[in-house]
Amino acid sequence: MDATQITVNGQVRPCEGISPHLRLLDWLRAEGLTGAKEGCAEGECGACAVLVARPDGDGRTRWTSVNACLPPALAFDGQEVVTAEGLGTAAGPRTAEHLHPVQQEMAERGGSQCGYCTPGFVCSMAAEYYRPERDATGSSEGVETGTAVVGEEHASDHETGPNGFDLSSLSGNLCRCTGYRPIRDAAYALGAPTDDDPLLRRQDRPAPAARPTQAAAGGSRFLRPGSMEELLGLLEQNPDAQVLAGATDAGVEVNLRHSRPPLVLAVDRLEPLLVLTLGPDRIEIGTALTLSEVERGLASRVPLLNQLFPQFASRLIRNAATLGGNLATGSPIGDTAPALLALDASVVLASAGGEREVPLAEYFTGYRQSVRRPGELLRAVHLPLPLAETTAFYKIAKRRFDDISSVAVAFALRLEDGVVASARIGMNGVAAMPLRALRTEEALVGRPWSEETAAGAAAVMETEGTPIDDLRATARYRSAMLGQSVLRFYAQTTAAPALEVTR
């Protein structure tokens, strides 16, 4: 086996003998690369963001922004990472000033004040700068800044720049100083990368292949199994092993609750878990695909999921988090569950002894509990086809970008001649686990999709679940939001397009 090592800013750095629980961020900082900062240690602020070279199909690479505070450094064995230091240099005793276009725009436009969040912003922005789908042809319009005309250029489309820059790519980065306007200006002023840009050219070649990693230190082991058989065998012998994909939940456990699992099994690069197939009667989604990969892979084929993705955490999190992780942790406020319940999804559980398929509606059994047995792994999610045509995903939270649901509700209705032929409603935040709103579904099916039916169903919906008061919302508000979601869904499906649609 090769020595464990990570390539950072083009330089190979060995990482032998480090703890399986040492975060990538802490490893980078110990290497002297202190640009990435710890702001929250739970993937909320993005001060730790870095770029990593990820596979992008067809032998290509995509520079992908991720939080460095969550995954262990060992998960990056053999991979390529770029930090703010690697994008450009400031003038110093040994360096001339040579700023990356992203850095140049951020510096010139007042995009940094205290500067602490800035390296992370720069990395998130760079990932979007190199995003292959970004169409920068409108970038010549230019963006004004300065004092006389501050902000006046952006009234038209707040969240997409004239250069195709998607502002939600920065949804996982927090700044406490600037109020964001100059950062948005910097983002929207970026042109296209030049043809000789080395990071652009790097995207034309494959990302580093996954390779088996084995490491142990301080009483903990880190293993990246090379095959499904090996993984399931290890799980059978070690049912308490921490299965790790994006580490967006497990990393928080390590950082905030000091969990130190003795065995970590990295599954995020295991091919059988990375499938995405669109069959005639179902869609199969591998559980180790990141949500960003699922989003790109589905290419808007599932409108309900399309509504979900931008509301699921942040781009930084979606670049690492997986469907498998979101379902396996079984959080009562996981956001994929309501949507998948509405889509009538089922999950495939694999173990050394074989596979079984379980409807998602029967998967959750209690608070962070499920029918998943020791030694079992979520291998895939199945979505039956055809999809219900009339769908919506509503997330109620304090903040639109990157917040945790107080309540989320997903609707999937089939209407035949104005009558509700079938209804599936998934909810989170109103019980110890994600639920179907079965009584409300009952109140809808067979009735005309009318204001009266919606009002009646809303009254039932308000009584679904067993919501509680907590720091996010009162039980009373949660119940009200359940009812309002039905009315909102009705208004949205019947009003003139675009008029009543709120974000």
């Binding site: 202190t34 964001y180 309002q484």
Partner: protein, 797 residues
């Protein structure tokens, strides 16, 4: 140069330049305090043992088990303190407490070779607690009369009589939430013992001098034996004015006891649970208006939640009382202030320093009374503005009150308010489930520390023989761009290009006895001190140049690195050459600068005087769109006109205005501190102690269309290069968002009703406001409920 406000030709101040560390920021090479230990060896890491009680006595502290954890080197306890066991200046904040005063209070600190060992060591420490009764909420404190510090009153006229005689009387109560600073860089200190016993402290501190003093008194040393340096801070916002001292003292104590460098860096959870926040307030008020909507009287009681110790609660309260008038003439007023003592973190400075809470109250009064008076809220505000010649309730003339009117007119015109009101009415008429509204609010904010003595500053300017310049001053850089402005001031005063000026980090052995970089005063005070130092050097150089050019020294001009005579078009001496000449003529090329703000006086007992050098004026109009299904909202557009005098650095000033506004909007709409107020085991625990539960504004909360204008031709006499302070005032412009939300919620109902809106105005709070507006709509004939202010039956006293 004649007066402080005068600018030479071609000044470097007033030019929009980027933050002086921008290139370092974007490349990740700017160093912060906690980037230093990684570059050292043999460093010890610290972890606190935090008590799981809101109030308890420590009956037994057994540290021996921690020493059994591999890597643990020492446990610091109160017994180790050679000097005074106090993290503050009032002897009410024991660094190592024997009585736990809030949930999470650190009772001792474990030092270890690595952070993991320190944490495990902290888990191994055994502490026995005897739980004591606790007070967690403001309501409990008021009911049990648990107060601390003075209870000052600001008064003028006869509020009681004026209320009794008022044509319209209303009353109400409101609770104002606190706010976590959430600087992205948590508290950090790094201390080692230097040559000859000097304790060298790197600290993320807004107040290096006080950090120095507290480290010295904890260690039993003199201030001359302790040096504090602050490279830069990753945000501070007031949260590093008083709070860093204890952490620096822990690190310093560890370093002196072990002989090894000690790093104290709080993780986010520790930072949120250990350090103070913006003061929550509760207010009750009675207001009287005449038939034309003019305020005739205000009587109010403001109770702040000071937490377990006084910290800065008294000056915060004083500023709240001095800003309850905001921009309004209130002839008869009586406002009592008091500070609750609760078992919570010790609440502290936060941008605005009580001013926001004071202003909140009067804007609440106007926002709730306007519909009952039948006056459009912004008209009601405008009618009550100060006019020239009037003075504040504490006796300070409101100089330049006409500027308030001019700012307002410019704002309403520039933001196209009249047309947009029509558009909004149309929009609301055609959208069943959405409502839009405008909120327009002014700000008048007093600049200077209320306590007169703090209004002084020092600077040190070195000119080297090659003409390069190194400046140092007492202010700290927290992102606000102070160092950028100071370089511009020095470049202007010496007439050299900006690139000639290097600024060295803030250190107590360069400039002693500094005030905190706070109260928006950093540029005013330190800029004037730098100017003073530069003027001394320039005057000396002018004599050297005058001799060489054969002219009078008064006629020497310094411009862009060339020294020349007035009216000379072709003859000039390069600055570096002149400096070199001066050296050989044995002319001193460095100077210490000093400044004290003239004309201030303040009687804290009577709450009367002229504590402020001047007032900063500003106004904002914000447009929101509220969703009737959820109470969720978008901030569609904000326009601001802000008086910053003649801006020292426009890009920096706009950045402060925008950032302050969004931070204020966070406080008023989103940021929600929740403590466990149950009687259970976690009573007193802060439930929102992480970024996942305490939400700051993100891109989705910024105004989608954000237009900031600096008020022009605004020279402020007697202030450095005619500028005004900008750090705090814009935060309070976010009251426009709150008032817009109130009006949008009201628009779901029939109008003419006072709308109560909880703070922060989260989507849930807005939803309930909508719900009340709709309910009122359905029961339009019924009188307003107990929630709404009603014509007061309260008898005048």
């Amino acid at each position: 140069m004649k007066s402080l406000a005068d600018r030479p030709v071609n000044p470097v101040v007033g030019v929009p330049v980027s933050h002086e560390s921008a290139a370092l920021h974007v490349t990740g090479t700017a160093l912060y305090t906690d980037d230093l230990p990684i570059r050292s060896s043999d460093v010890l890491h610290a972890w606190p043992v935090q008590a799981p009680h809101a109030h308890a006595r420590v009956t037994e502290l057994r540290t021996a088990p921690a020493l059994g954890v591999p890597g643990v080197v020492r446990v610091l306890t109160g017994a180790d303190v050679p000097g005074i066991n106090d993290a503050g200046t009032k002897h009410d904040e024991p660094l190592f407490p024997s009585e736990v005063m809030y949930y999470g209070h650190a009772v001792c600190w474990v030092l270890a070779d690595n952070l993991e060992a320190a944490r495990l060591g902290a888990e191994a420490v055994e502490v026995d607690y005897e739980p004591l009764p606790s007070i967690v909420t403001l309501a409990e404190a008021i009911q049990k009369e648990s107060f601390q510090g003075d209870q000052p009153t600001v008064a003028r006229g006869d509020a009681g009589a004026a209320l009794a005689a008022a044509a319209h009387r209303f009353s109400g109560e409101v609770e104002i939430g606190g706010q976590e600073h959430f600087y992205l860089e948590t508290h950090a200190s790094y201390v080692y013992v230097d040559e000859s016993g000097q304790v060298f402290v790197h600290s993320s501190t807004q107040h290096p001098t006080e950090t120095q003093e507290i480290v010295a008194h904890v260690l039993g040393l003199t201030s001359s034996q302790v040096t504090v340096q602050c490279l830069r801070m990753g945000g501070a916002f007031g949260g590093k004015e008083m709070q860093p001292h204890g952490f620096a003292a822990v690190a310093a104590l560890g370093a002196t006891l072990t002989g090894r460098p000690v790093r104290v860096r709080l993780n986010r959870t520790q930072d949120i649970t250990l350090t103070g926040k913006r003061h929550p307030f509760a207010a009750s008020w009675e207001a009287g208006f005449d038939d034309t909507g003019r305020l005739v009287a205000l009587r109010a009681t403001l109770t702040s939640d000071g937490g377990w110790s006084l910290d800065l609660s008294q000056p915060v309260l004083a500023r709240a009382l001095c800003h309850i008038d905001n921009a309004y003439w209130i002839p008869n007023i009586e406002v009592l202030g008091r500070i609750a003592k609760t078992h919570k973190t010790s609440q502290t400075a936060f941008r605005g320093f009580g001013g926001p809470q004071g202003m909140f109250v009067i804007e609440e009064v106007l926002g709730r009374c306007a519909p009952l008076l039948g006056v459009e809220p912004s008209d009601l505000r405008r009618r009550n503005f100060y006019n020239p010649g009037q003075s504040t309730p504490y006796g300070q003339p409101v100089r330049h009150a006409e500027r308030l009117h001019a700012v307002w007119e410019q704002l309403l015109g520039g933001a196209d308010v009249e047309r947009r009101r029509t558009d909004i009415a149309d929009f609301n008429a055609t959208h069943r489930h959405l409502r839009r509204a405008l909120g327009i609010t002014p700000v008048k904010f007093g600049i200077s520390f209320n306590l007169t003595a703090f209004n002084q500053a020092g600077a040190l300017v070195h000119v080297y023989k090659d003409g390069s310049v190194l400046i140092n001053h007492g202010g700290t850089e927290m992102g606000q761009g102070l160092h950028t402005k100071m370089r511009q001031v020095a470049a202007t005063a010496l007439g050299v290009p900006l690139a000639n000026i290097r600024l060295a980090p803030t250190r107590t052995d360069k400039v002693p006895n500094t005030s905190a970089t706070a109260a928006s005063s950093g540029a005013d005070l330190n800029g004037a001190a730098i100017r003073n130092a530069c003027d001394q050097i320039r005057d000396r150089l002018a004599e050297v140049a005058a001799r060489k050019l054969n002219i009078h020294p008064d006629d020497v001009r310094f411009d862009d690195g060339i020294v020349t005579g007035i009216g000379f078009s072709d003859e000039g001496i390069p600055f570096a050459e002149l400096v070199n000449d001066a050296y050989f003529q044995r002319v001193s090329l460095w100077a210490a600068g000093y400044y004290r703000t003239p004309g201030l006086h303040w009687d804290a007992a009577r709450m009367q005087g002229e504590p402020f050098k001047y007032f900063t004026y500003a106004a904002a109009v914000s447009e929101v769109e509220v969703d009737g299904f959820t109470g969720a909202y978008r901030l569609l557009r904000t326009d601001i006109v802000h008086d910053v005098g003649d801006s020292l650095s426009p890009l920096i000033d706009v950045g402060q205005i925008e950032g302050g506004f969004v931070q204020g909007a966070g406080w008023l709409t989103l940021e929600d501190l929740r403590w466990d107020v149950s009687e259970g085991k976690r009573r007193g625990r802060l439930d929102t102690q992480s970024a996942s539960t305490y939400k700051l504004p993100s891109f989705s909360e910024m105004p989608e269309d954000f237009r900031v204008h600096l008020f022009e031709r605004a020279t402020e006499s007697g202030v450095i290069y005619g500028s005004k302070a900008v750090g705090e005032p814009p935060l309070m412009l976010a009251l426009s968002v709150r008032e817009a939300l109130r009006q949008a919620a009201a628009a779901f109902g029939p109008g003419g009703r006072s709308v109560e809106l909880a703070s922060p105005a989260t989507p849930e709070a807005v939803y309930w406001a909508i719900d009340r507006a709709r309910t009122t709509s359905r029961e339009a004939a019924k009188p307003a409920g107990m929630d709404a202010p009603v014509p007061s039956p309260v008898r005048a006293q």
